[in-house]
Amino acid sequence: MLRYILRRLTHTVLVIIGISAISFIFLHLSGDPVGLVLPQDATQEQIAALRQEMRLNDPIYLQYLHFVTAALHGDLGLSIYTREPVVGLILERMPATIELALAALVLSLAVAIPIGVLAAVKRGSWMDTISMTVALFGLSMPHFWLGIMFIMVFSVQLGWLPTSGRGTWLQLLMPATALGVSLIALFARLTRSAMLEVLSQDYVRTARAKGLSEIMVVGNHALRNALIPLVTVVGMEFGFLLGGAVIIEMVFAWPGVGRLIVQSILDRDYPVVQAAVMMLAIVFVTVNLLIDLLYGWLDPNISYDGRSK
């Protein structure tokens, strides 16, 4: 188990290095931040001086080397605009994004799993067809549009919910739903097919034969095993959630990392974008590692040492 974790951590480091190099190169090829930082009436000397200070005249591999050297000392640089350490700027806003992603995840699972289970148990019935169709609607709607529609209906027309911002759970409701709706279809269908497969297994028939109640059979024995493929997908979709959160954060003025990244990309605040991309990658990879470890708990047949139990 320990060896497995160490191996995964090594992969993680390689992934982070790769991401940092790629994002660095793309950022620096995408245009000059100097014209955006200085006021419109800046003189040519001022522009040249700032370029020098930001090392923009160095060849790109030298700039990257300088970045890596500093990063290894824990210094991911300063924001071009505020001159504050970027790590602090990002950590300040990370909880908001994670809150949004988790809320969306919890909401979608809370809706999807029961739908999937019911659809599997009542397979072929109208309940099955309808729930799968409704879930598909959610998948097809772009969440940008959905977010704006929610605001129009629930805030402007009905006046039930505040339009934007973060602080109360009422303000979390619309953005989390807008983000989570597209996942409901995926999770529901997956739960349904996993359940169908599990319900036809021998051990389920055994459990029924033993006289256990249907709820015990379905809820405990069947569902627990059906969750395993679902857990994999949740891990993969967490990345989607972090990315999708960017759009939802813009629509609902949610003060998370996504909004910070978008604004920093537009302003060409390289260090912020660089660090944010790397930190999100770390979160994503960590989540996946934890999910893989979760398997071991869910399915005792899985062993990390390459030996079967």
Binding site: G31, P33, P39, T43, M94, G165
Partner: protein, 500 residues
Amino acid sequence: MSFFSRSIVAALTALSIVGGVSSASSDTTTLVVVQSGEPVGLDAMQNNLQHSLNVAFNIQDRLFEPLEDGGVAPGLAESWEFTSDTILVVKLKPGLKFHNGEQVNAEAVRYSMERLLDPAIASPHAGRMSQIDKVRTIDDLTIEFTTKAPFAPILHLMSYYLPIVPPVATAATEKEAFNRAPIGAGPYKIESWERGGDVVLTAFDGYWAGRPPYDKVIFRTIPEESARVAALLTGEVDIIEGVSVRSQKTIEDSGKGTLTDSMGVMPYVGLNTLNGPFTDERVRQAVNFGVNRALIKKALFNDRGMLAAGPISPRTFGADLTLEPYPYDVDKAKALLAEAGYPDGFDTTLSYPTNMTQIQEQAQAIAADLETIGVRAKLQPLDRAVMWEKYQAREHQMYIYWWDDNPEPDRYMYSLFHSNSRDYYYNNKATDASLDKGRSTLDRDERAKIYASIDRALYEEAPWLYLYIIPETYAVGPKADYVGRRDGFLFVRFAQPRTN
């Protein structure tokens, strides 16, 4: 605990904060203002982005108050005079204090000026203010500024870019910390700033113009326009910035908001007078005759704003108001092109940054008109930063950019047309000489004449394809009264609760 579990705990904690920061509704003592981008810092000296200065200028006052016509009124200063062409003596109002109790005296002004030019602070305004050579205190309330050469825009620039800060507290604070919680002598002091969220300001009793009408002002950020408009329509907020033409009708029809004009935006098409077909003045005039700017303004902007004749906005002093915008005359345009040696027209490119408002429609309309006279302009949309790079590399032939309709003519005429500032696409010694004269003549009427002659000269020389000036719009909810300013800044002390 791993990062993951820690974040779960953090998320659950956040979720459990019920009824925390609620979006304040507008009672008579709180004003909620929404911007489209968030402030990056709140110390006016360290920031240049409009969204940051909009907040900072309410916290930190300057010696003078800027007026809509480019002049200034007393601010922290009571009176001032030019004792010579290069020496300005300013007298402060007596008895004023900063938010933290320090005195607003000559020493504070001297300290503030030096801080502005201090390389350690790296103020984006240092360049603009670098004409000031020396500052010295004469007595407790009197300061003397010396400029390197006679410099007329000095008062206008000082009314924005020299915020006065308390020496003791400022020197004792790290500049990043000061950028998050600045101190000044403005009408509002900072209560809190949740990064990414609200900036909360509270009224300052000791303000020289008296306590402002609102007890509390909240600056909020909502980047998505429809969400901003929704917030106004639900009554959650009082003033919103960044209202495009599309939303203006929605707001007016709803009856829940009124529109007010703010900063004028002056888009223009720069022409490469140094290289290519536009080196010929006749070609430049031809394109000015060949674009129906009046129709574009009507179609794309609901006919708001005004047409531009020459480079100086008609609202700015020094504009030659006898000039008429180039009329739309296809035949004249074609004749000029033929005369210049292009009877069949020519091919060129029209570049523009994609972040400008309604730029795609404008560019397409302009290109379509140009096509009619034979100038086949290929559209080249570019990202803002790439556009800037190519601009400096002198790669454009025709490029669309904009400037704000500033009441001080030197502000952009010098920046855009003087070869010291930019010589990428235009370089004319005669214009340089006139611009130098315009900025060093202290008498306003004399200056007006000089700029009027520059306006006329450039009108004929046509280094640009002149377009129009379109004001940006703010929308104001039913509970507040606010009139937008030409400089586009949100001085919220002028906002009042509506009493009907």
